[in-house]
């Protein structure tokens, strides 16, 4: 790896430790980053728990569209697993195809989320209507922003499909966001 790439991606693991670190630096960094995202949503969760005990909490309905969106996001995780398998076998052409499918599903999910906002708006449920709708708009927005970050990662992979390590990191992040969305759905509409 050339020095220029080192500048961008990092020195990786120590050249002199002899024994390899248990987890490679990028994966470790990703884990700690995910821990901060978990804490971010833990903060939101405690806000929901406090806020929903008050009398003005009026539950908003779960739109059928949101179920479809969830299915789309879960499907994108399945296709991402396909990408990983293909990347391991270094079938670059197919990796690209399935990456594109995954990214498309991701975009579809985001479009669906915006559609859900629109449907709630038509129902007269705005961000300021009541705490439940406020939380829905804000949390789906923050989740969507993180997913948009994941799409940037997918764009990077489309340009460099040979990077198996990067594919794996991006997949971990993507699955995490899928799980996070399920959690938010349960938190907002089930529990």
């Amino acid at each position: 790896m050339s020095h220029a790439q080192n500048q961008w991606i990092g020195f990786g693991d120590s050249e002199h430790t002899g024994e390899r670190p248990v987890v490679d630096a990028h994966r470790l960094g990703l884990w700690f980053f995910l821990a901060t995202v978990v804490m971010l949503f833990a903060g939101f969760t405690s806000a929901i728990l406090v806020r929903r005990t008050s009398a003005d909490w009026q539950a908003i309905p779960l739109l059928p569209l949101l179920r479809w969106n969830t299915l789309v996001l879960l499907a994108s995780s399945v296709t991402f697993e396909r990408v990983r398998t293909l990347a391991r076998r270094s079938q670059r052409k197919q990796v690209r195809t399935w990456l594109a499918v995954t990214a498309l599903l991701g975009v579809l999910f985001l479009a669906g989320q915006i559609g859900a906002w629109e449907q709630y708006r038509v129902l007269g449920l705005f961000l300021s209507s009541n705490p439940h709708s406020s939380f829905f708009y804000i949390l789906s927005g923050v989740h969507g922003a993180h997913l948009a970050g994941g799409l940037l990662g997918l764009g990077y992979l489309l340009a460099r499909p040979g990077r198996v390590g990067a594919v794996n990191l991006c997949a971990t992040y993507w699955h995490f966001l899928g799980g996070l969305w399920l959690y938010l759905l349960v938190m907002l509409f089930v529990v």
Partner: protein, 590 residues
């Protein structure tokens, strides 16, 4: 895989821009952070001088200040709402933009790779990005003084409803929005830095550098980074909700029935306590994010100037871990008077008493580390001892505030102001100075002037204790914090004149820092040239040239054979044995 497959022997960037401005070298970034912290420190210090001037001579006429702050100082007299902006921004800038920048951004960047034997951080590009996110964050904070309504005025804790209702106070208009924005960028920057520190410590240690052989400084930076990474995101969540309350009509923090003038606000159902909990869930761990690295620096300076190992090395490390865990469950002790259930208060009081145990163990270990040493009273050592004394005084005050019973009396008085200035003001400031005097030769290849350093130390020590010890007594007398003037309160009349000597001492404290600034820049060019290891210390950074080149170690990275505190090892000629010296077969390596 992504990692480097060949040894990254460094090509030094040659253009000025890549070398000094958009550098990915951890040493340059560390120094950039230190200089930024110094600049923000000057600003925040000047704000403190304005605060003190107002308290000593309330409503006096300072006509020359009108030119800088035409709104806040119109007619030369400070407006009450401008005073609130001053205390808010003094606190915010000092906590996040001075101490965090200097201790984690500055020392963290400079020391971690050098003390663990790495060539740079794990993610140098991310590191550069961290600094260049910190810069706009700082600029936004500074700019907020010059927008309509002035800077944020809801206190550094930004409690709603003051912070959530834009009409509540002039600073709650644009100033508060910029405050939230600046904090958001700060947290992004901190996260990028913190990820780097944690991964670098775990993965990039030199051969033989086990976790138990890390200098205590690195341990404290490591723990502080993890704490910050976990504690800041809930504040981000809280700030996002605050932003929506302010601008988009949601009601997370605002209850029903709030009036502004004669107008009923449309919010309903929210509770300001939600913000307090989320804020202090960050706020308390943040205290330790700042405190621990300062204590770590002192822990590493003591053995060098006592020529003996530190006392209770393992107990110190365990105590650091215990503090980190406990610091996450004591935030409620900032909220005893918020009307929380006494049972919950009891939980937080017990937790707070529990955290004094590991803190006291560390304090005792620091003191015991002096015992029987051949002490060399150089400037870094003076500041290290000063840190210990402030940690002791501040810690004793904390016992009163940690107990709900006594806190109810002392809450929001100058006792609190005095206490937290000892801890996150004094311990961190003195720890920072100890570290600067100690590592300056490594950073710049020159020695700071000892004579100026000692004068600086004594003036700072006297000024600091006069200001903040006195404030404890003013607080016991019932003087509330955040008040613009005390002229109209009869019960304060017996004490209020004490504000004059406190202010004079604060001016002395401020002026003493000019000595340090002069010393810093003068010695950079005129100070005596520093050798590789001027203090005869054992840790890895002293094996690199002063200042270390790009990539730190030349051809071969160091290999570590022992712990960092081998002073006075029997059978050696020198009284110190660097970590890179191979173990003598007759002696047990640690």
């Amino acid at each position: 895989m992504l990692q480097a497959t060949e040894a990254p022997v460094a090509h030094e960037p040659t253009s000025f821009l890549r070398r000094y401005i958009f550098s990915t070298d951890h040493k340059v970034i560390g120094i950039q952070y230190l200089l930024t912290a110094a600049f923000m420190g000057i600003v925040a210090g000047l704000l403190a001088m304005l605060i003190r001037a107002q308290l000593a001579w309330p409503e006096a006429n300072w006509s020359w200040l009108e030119r800088l702050f035409p709104e806040g100082m119109s007619g030369g007299v400070m407006k009450p709402e401008f005073y609130l902006s001053l205390i808010t921004m003094h606190g915010t800038l000092m906590v996040f933009f001075v101490i965090s920048f200097a201790l984690l951004g500055g020392f963290g960047n400079f020391l971690i790779p050098l003390q663990i034997g790495a060539r740079d951080m794990a993610f140098p590009f991310l590191n550069m990005l961290s600094y260049w996110t910190a810069v706009p964050a700082s600029l936004i904070m500074l700019a907020s003084f010059f927008v309509e309504g002035g800077a944020a005025a809801a206190g550094w804790t930004s409690y709603p409803p003051l912070s959530a209702v834009p009409q509540a106070v002039p600073g709650s208009q644009w100033g508060q929005t910029l405050w939230i924005l600046g904090m958001a960028l700060f947290i992004v920057s901190f996260t990028m830095g913190g990820l780097n520190y944690v991964v670098t410590v775990l993965n990039l240690r030199a051969k033989g550098m086990t976790m138990m052989r890390l200098p205590v400084t690195i341990w404290t930076l490591f723990i502080a980074s993890i704490l910050g990474l976990l504690a800041f995101p809930p504040l981000t969540a809280a700030a996002i909700l605050l932003l929506f309350d302010r601008h988009f009509g949601s009601s997370f923090y605002l209850p029903a029935g709030m009036f502004y003038g004669n107008k009923l606000l449309e919010h309903s159902g929210g509770t300001p306590l939600l913000w307090q909990h989320l804020f202090w869930f960050l706020g308390h761990p943040e205290v330790y994010v700042l405190l621990l690295p300062a204590l770590g620096i002192v822990m590493d300076i003591l053995p060098v100037f006592t020529r003996k190992p530190i006392f209770g090395h393992r107990m110190t490390l365990y105590s650091l871990g215990a503090i980190a865990l406990l610091s996450m469950i004591v935030w409620g002790h900032h909220m005893y008077v918020s009307g929380m259930s006494p049972y919950v208060g009891e939980f937080f009081a017990i937790g707070t008493m529990a955290i004094t145990l590991p803190s006291a163990i560390i304090g005792m270990n620091l003191i015991a580390s002096l015992w029987g040493g051949a002490i060399r009273f150089r400037t870094p050592m003076l500041f290290a001892i000063g840190t210990i004394s402030l940690f002791g005084i501040g810690g004793l005050g904390g016992i009163f505030l940690g107990n709900a019973t006594s806190d109810i009396q002392l809450h929001d008085t100058y006792f609190v102001v005095g206490h937290f200035h000892y801890m996150i003001g004094g311990v961190t400031l003195f720890g920072m100075f100890a570290g600067l005097y100690y590592w300056y030769p490594k950073m710049f290849g020159r020695m700071l002037s000892e004579r100026l350093g000692k004068v600086h130390f004594w003036l700072t020590m006297i000024g600091f204790n006069t200001v903040f010890l006195t404030q404890h007594f003013l607080g016991l007398g019932g003087m509330p914090r955040r008040y613009y003037a005390f002229t109209k309160y009869e019960f304060m009349q017996p004490y209020v004149h004490l504000n004059v000597p406190v202010t004079l001492a604060a001016f002395l404290l401020g002026a003493a820092q000019l000595l340090f600034l002069f010393n810093f820049f003068w010695s950079r060019f005129r100070g005596p040239v520093a050798e590789k290891n001027p203090w005869e210390a054992t840790t890895l950074e002293w094996g690199a040239p002063s200042p270390p080149p790009h990539g730190n170690w030349g051809e071969r990275a160091p290999v570590v054979h022992r712990w960092p505190y081998d002073y006075g090892v029997p059978g050696t000629i020198q009284d110190f044995t660097p970590q890179t010296v191979a173990a003598n077969p007759t002696q047990q390596a640690r």
